[in-house]
Amino acid sequence: MRDSDLRLVLPLGAIFAVCFAAPLAVLIALSFASDTTMRGLTLDHYVRFFTDPFNYSILWNTLLLGVKATLLCLLFAYPIAWIANRARARWQAVLLFLVILPIMTSVVVRTFSWIVILGRQGLLNQVAMGLGLTAEPLRLLFTEVGVVMVLAQVQMPLMVLPILTVMSKTDPNLADASRALGAGEWRTLWRVTLPLSLPGVIAGCILTYSASVTAFVTQTLIGGARLVYMPLHIYQQAIGANNWPFAAAISIIFMVAVLCVVALLNLLIRMTPANAER
């Protein structure tokens, strides 16, 4: 090891120690304290969370919301990556630019434009009623269907990019060989292309999932006040109810839960055929 290398990491390392590790340590300590002044040692906040159905159902709903948004995202993102991988360089750049555009645009703005679209008199309802698909305006805003849709749009680039990266590194001869041996396009997709791109798919799922469960702005503006997910729950307990120790405990529970899902998905990457051979 060269000392100079360690010296290069130290400034950022020091900032992370003081501004990231220390606050998280204090948060953990606070979650076991009986009041905000950090006195006493108690498990009460954790017990309260897991014995109250209202609390643990919020956690469950949040984790499930992430799964739904991730699956919808994957449904659209995989074909985009597949098409982009086969497109000529110029078209690929245009396609990627369009995919990245939404994630660069402020998330408040993106969510706000969906309010205009999903509202009772919004574009979607006007079209649906104009076509005679529905007599009454559909309720889309302040429903979970709406939240899932918007999350899928907002996080799409996080899914497309890792899939495309893995696809573009895969030897195109493998798919050609599959077709030459008589497998049709769908069979080739299912048996060759998809398994080989799984590491990218799972990497995309990790990014999309962790972004979806913590997407405070989208969850609160599209979900409204009645659909409570973990980020809003933490915010309400911390700022609204001023119950810091409890807010700390649910923050820790939320973080651990998200990290468990991420770790599980990471384990899946190691088990994919592309990695199993190595």
Binding site: D5, P23, P79, S106, V108, V109, G184, V213, P231, A248
Partner: protein
């Protein structure tokens, strides 16, 4: 060989057609909302409707008088500027060291620096607030900037590490064997070669900071209100067309910045 009458490969066509159709729907899904918000902001009436009732720029003119919003936008710009500067100056050397060293500590630092991307940022924001109060201090702009650095630095690290992995080691060895010092090699050889990666990462960090809500929610107060929080509260309380006008401005500026970043840093290729 039935070369003259090769049967149409319906299976191949069906797959291409299906995927092309899904991609087309997805593009509308991705780009449509931004277009709609711009068109809505051009309305002449008081209501947020699409299609707009008449066209006018009155809501953009109203922005010129929105002092609070302008103040929030200025605060956001200052915070994002400092955040980007710190992310680039701290992140680039860290990426260099992580890339060069194959020791365990390098992997651990990599994991540590990337973890804000996976952890719920809102929980970190709250942790930072608790920490500041425990130190007997109050939230202020410098703390806000430091909080933003933590959640934005992964972008610089990721693109810089990607650029480094494309680097030809022979060039660095050549520079060293010709007698250049480590600093000289960095400034004259490494930095120009990874510059686009650092640039793309800095751009992403800037956008992420300018757009950050989860950390600012806890570390910004009325005096130091940032634009995304201001807009979030506006939308929560009273939807007015001025919000659409600000959104229009943000969409157009983002588009222009992205085109600049694409031109000078090859944004789309750096993000892969």
């Amino acid at each position: 060989m039935p070369s003259a009458s090769t049967p149409i490969d319906w299976e191949s066509l069906s797959l291409r057609f299906t995927f092309a159709a899904i991609t087309a729907v997805a593009i509308v899904f991705l780009v449509g909302p931004s277009l709609i918000v711009i068109l809505t902001s051009l309305t002449a009436s008081q209501s947020l409707r699409f299609p707009p009732d008449g066209l006018s720029l009155r809501w953009y003119a109203a922005l010129l008088k929105a002092d609070q919003m302008q103040q929030a936008a200025w605060t956001s710009l200052v915070v994002a500027g400092w955040t980007t500067f710190l992310c680039a100056t701290l992140g680039t050397p860290a990426a260099l060291a992580i890339f060069r060293s194959h020791r365990l500590w390098a992997r651990l630092f990599d994991l540590l620096f990337m973890s804000p991307l996976l952890l719920p940022a809102l929980a970190f924001g709250f942790a930072a607030l608790v920490f500041i109060y425990q130190l007997g201090l109050r939230p202020s702009i410098p703390f806000l900037i430091l909080g933003h650095v933590i959640v934005c630095v992964p972008f610089v690290l990721r693109t810089t590490l990607a650029a480094l992995s494309q680097l030809d080691h022979a060039l660095l060895d050549a520079s060293a064997s010709l007698g250049a010092s480590g600093w000289m090699t960095f400034r004259r050889v490494t930095l120009p070669l990874i510059g686009r990666g650092v640039g793309a990462g800095s751009f992403l960090a800037f956008m992420a900071s300018f757009d950050n809500v989860p950390v600012s929610l806890f570390l910004a107060d009325e005096r130091t209100e940032v634009l995304p929080i201001h807009l979030w509260q506006q939308i929560e309380t009273n939807l007015d067309v001025r919000t659409a006008a600000v959104s229009g401005v943000i969409v157009v500026i983002t588009l222009l910045l992205m085109l600049v970043a694409e031109r000078f840093a090859g944004l789309t290729s750096q993000m892969r």
